[in-house]
């Protein structure tokens, strides 16, 4: 299996905080990797660097063979990014938003149509897609944006808190979609602070706290290593362990 994302010692120093501190990990083709950590841990910062939105202070990440530092425009061809708490153009209808975004990703009309069709199916909004986004609920917007993020079948989908604001049923549905797509070969980098949910969806997790990636591994492995029942407890143990020093 080939590596889609290789993160090498990525750091980001904001004016006052070191938000990411030598973060390294990698994601294989068809793999779902979850960055988990408490609020302010540096998840979004790491994700934004990989999405080519902010420049790392040091370090690099290779996406599908291209460096985020040297070839960001090439990286953008292989990824899609769903920001945390994102909105959409309120005056557009859901359908037109999908169409607009599809035409951002391709110049090919037929391809764009295929993208939109996929997204329409995945988001499950039905007729509501013809209404303005201003009238959508938070969860509806989230589903619209999620389906937008995967409709192009990117090599790597980067989703920041993909299920935040979704109810249990919808969250479940989204997780299923993500798993199905991963089985087809798409890779995912997702972030969350909902450990239990992450346990169901991800193949591997990285626990990040105060900018440092503390542990990386398969969920089962980690549970065994720390001899606990679930990921939440793993997280607790890891964070506590590192606070001692």
């Amino acid at each position: 299996m080939s590596t889609i994302l290789e993160v090498k010692d990525l750091s980001k120093q904001y004016s006052k905080v070191l938000a990411a501190d030598n973060v390294s990990f990698s994601i294989d083709e068809g793999e779902i990797f979850a960055l988990i950590g408490p609020n302010g841990a540096g998840k979004t910062t790491t994700i934004r660097m990989i999405s080519t939105l902010i420049k790392p202070t040091s370090g690099d990440a290779i996406v599908n063979g291209y460096s985020i530092n040297d070839k960001p425009e090439k990286v953008r061809e292989s990824i899609t990014y769903l920001p945390d708490e994102a909105g959409a153009y309120k005056n557009m209808t859901g359908y037109n938003y999908l169409k607009f975004m599809a035409n951002i990703f391709t110049n090919d009309k037929d391809k764009a149509e295929t993208y939109v069709k996929r997204a329409v199916e995945m988001c499950g909004l039905g007729d509501r897609l013809n209404e303005k986004i201003a009238s959508y609920s938070r969860g509806m917007i989230r589903k619209l944006l999620l389906s937008r993020a995967v409709m192009t079948y990117p090599k790597l989908a980067i989703l920041d808190e993909p299920t935040s604001g979704l109810d249990v049923i919808n969250a479940l549905e989204i997780r299923k979609i993500i798993k199905d797509l991963a089985n087809k070969g798409m890779s995912f980098l997702i972030s969350s602070h909902n450990m239990l949910e992450i346990e169901f969806v991800s193949d591997r997790v990285g626990i990040i706290s105060k900018g440092k990636l503390l542990v990386v591994g398969k969920t089962e492995e980690l549970k065994q290593r720390y001899n606990v029942a679930n990921l939440e407890e793993v997280f607790e143990r890891v964070v506590l362990e590192h606070e001692v020093y």
Binding site: L53, I54, T80, P83, I104
Partner: protein, 440 residues
């Protein structure tokens, strides 16, 4: 008390660093403008004692009139002219106004017992309100009339008392107004009145346009930033130049549609006003429309003039857009987005006010350079510069605006192609609070 608690929260939200800075800046600006205006008025008034007269009649009577005028406190300078043409006369003497007492003036009054013609030539350089605050010649003309009436009344000059019909109105005034290299037989105040409506409405239109386009760009950029749709776009395979370019072009198109609509409305309004025939006191000779006269003086905007004005407006809109791109990028929330238009408003307001009241070109050099550095100044003075043919100032201003635009675009592009767009913010209030927390 719950109410006090609420009130405190509201006040704390309203009174922040942005508001205080805004207040300080606008207050110091008002003081500054007040100072500039005061100087300008002083200049205008201090010259008001100077009167230039050319006595071509040169009789005992006219000499006495001039003596009396001197006695009244006017600083009368006698000049002689060799030229015929009004424009050439003013150029020859290097002055801006001249009262001419023509040959036969005395004879007309004393022999024919009829009103004689007095010629008054004046040059206007701008249509700002200050332009009507002119030298003392206009009041000197009134004084000449009363001096003549008094002389006739006291000394009779052989006219029988019953005969002195001329007493009532001894002087017919023939006014000639010079603009650049052209002249027309019409009073300067009529021209200024007319042209300043033209010069008054265009700035209003420009001001509205600048504010409108700036607000448009600032709000689209800031909502994209706040909604994070910008993050989605900038992580997508689309060039950032085209993201910015599309925004600017769209805003420019909307602004231009507005500009054209305003200009059409404006020109039909002007032609309605200018079409009216003037009464004969304003124009000696044939009945002309104001439009004809403005055209004769070159004050009416020709098609070429409108094109230049359009070019100016376009440049202005582009500057407003590029500055707004930068300002919009600084928004962190909807409230800060609203106040971001402040700098543009202030820098459009200063030249707008100044151009309404004063002629920038005739201000002192230091003040002039300071005012010229504000890019929007060249917009508000453009119509005057076009009308009065101040081409170096017009083109220089346009060139400066172009450079300013390029510099702004360079910074805007830098902002959007680097990660600064996601890390900068102008939230001074928050920064100050942070510092306090650290110290405390």
């Amino acid at each position: 008390m719950k109410f006090i608690n609420l009130l405190k929260k509201e006040l704390r939200e309203l009174i922040n660093a942005q508001m205080i800075i805004g207040l300080v800046v606008s207050m110091s600006l008002l003081v500054l403008i007040g100072g500039i205006m005061g100087d300008a008025i002083e200049d205008a008034v201090s010259n008001s004692g100077d009167v230039y007269i050319c006595d071509q009649d040169n009789t005992e009577f006219t000499k006495r009139v001039i003596e009396n005028l001197n006695a009244m406190g006017y600083n009368v300078n006698e000049k002689s002219v060799t030229k015929e043409d009004s424009v050439e006369i003013l150029e020859e003497l290097n002055i801006n106004s001249l009262i001419i007492i023509p040959k036969g003036f005395t004879e007309g009054i004393l022999k024919n017992n009829a009103a004689s013609e007095l010629e008054y030539i004046s040059r206007i350089k701008s249509t700002s309100a200050m332009a009507s605050l002119r030298d003392g010649s206009t009041s000197a003309i009134e004084s000449i009339k009363s001096i003549i009436s008094n002389l006739l009344m006291q000394e009779g000059y052989g006219l029988s008392e019953a005969d002195i019909t001329v007493l009532e109105n001894p002087v017919n005034l023939k006014e000639v107004t010079v603009v650049d290299k052209k002249s027309a037989n019409v009073s300067a105040s009529t021209i200024i009145g007319m042209a300043s409506t033209q010069g008054m409405i265009v700035p209003i239109v420009i001001f509205i346009l600048v504010m409108f386009t700036s607000q448009m760009i600032i709000s689209t950029i800031s909502t994209e930033k706040i909604d994070k749709t910008l993050e989605t776009l900038l992580s997508a395979p689309v060039s950032r130049l085209s993201v910015l370019g599309a925004k600017m072009l769209a805003a420019a198109i909307v602004a231009l549609i507005n500009a054209v609509a305003y200009m059409i409305a404006f020109s039909s309004y002007m032609s309605g006003m200018l079409g009216s025939t003037l009464d004969t006191t304003a124009v000696i000779g044939e009945a002309l429309t104001m439009s004809d006269i403005l055209k004769e003086l070159g004050l009416k905007l020709t098609a070429g003039g409108y094109i230049l004005l359009g070019l100016q407006m376009f440049m202005t809109i582009m500057i407003a857009l590029s500055v707004s791109l930068i300002l919009g990028a600084m928004a962190t929330d909807a409230k800060s987005a609203q106040t971001l238009v402040m700098p543009i408003m202030i820098f459009a307001m200063i030249p707008y006010m100044i151009s309404l009241f004063m002629d920038v070109n005739s201000m002192s050099n230091i003040v002039k350079i300071f005012v010229w550095l504000i890019p929007f100044t060249h917009t508000f003075t453009a119509i005057n510069n076009i009308m009065f043919g101040n081409w170096p100032v017009f083109w220089g201003g346009l060139a400066y605006q172009f450079v300013f635009f390029i510099v702004c675009m360079y910074f805007a592009l830098k902002l959007f192609t680097s990660d600064k767009i996601f890390t900068i913010s102008l939230n001074l209030g928050q920064k100050m609070k942070l510092k306090k927390v650290k110290k405390g």
